[in-house]
Amino acid sequence: AQSVTQLDSHVSVSEGTPVLLRCNYSPSYSPSLFWYVQHPNKGLQLLLKYTSAATLVKGINGFEAEFKKSETSFHLTKPSAHMSDAAEYFCVVGSGANNLFFGTGTRLTVIP
């Protein structure tokens, strides 16, 4: 069965410093992987997705994620945090069927 683990429930960074949000997934021969962002009291917005093309995936708002099969990881990064990046981030793995499996989320705080 598919599963995903977000290693940090809360990450704090200073504005202008790099962001790293960690995600590991259960092994699969060809996973689909996603990162979504949720601002307070809002729906989820797709940041980026990996579907077995390039291992480095670029998303919106300067975010990117690297698929590493040997580490079963799909960490989300951004070179320089902005105040507007403060939100909850969800790592998600697709099962190839109807379901997506969501991580428990990482809350990103950006300190001015």
Partner: protein, 112 residues
């Protein structure tokens, strides 16, 4: 382009009262539709999904039900709300043959 709507945005209901939340999608045909619940401080829990009119699959036993009376309309209902039904309810859609799901703005439900 496709858009997804949910209403109401916020709802406060007494215990034991009925519930009806509506979700509609525009700009696509025959979407797969999903209802998720997000309890405070927790990840997303898939409640129901539908692959077509009148076709509903339930993921967890509960006092909620779902219906799909039209191709792009998905309704979440309850006959008697419980305190534990409080949460943030998200509707999502995806196109046939793709895994990416797109989320609505959500409904905040508070049961008192």
């Amino acid at each position: 382009s496709q858009t997804i709507h949910q209403w109401p945005a916020t709802l406060v209901q007494p215990v034991g009262s009925p519930l009806s939340l509506e979700c509609t999608v525009e700009g696509t045909s025959n979407p797969n539709l999903y209802w998720y619940r997000q309890a405070a401080g927790r990840g997303l829990q898939l409640l129901f999904y539908s692959v077509g009119i009148g076709q509903i699959s339930s993921e967890v036993p509960q006092n909620l039900s779902a219906s799909r009376p039209q191709d792009r309309q998905f309704i979440l209902s309850s006959k008697k709300l419980l305190l534990s039904d409080s949460g943030f309810y998200l509707c999502a859609w995806r196109g046939q043959g793709v895994e990416t799901q797109y989320f609505g703005p959500g409904t905040r439900l508070l049961v008192l």
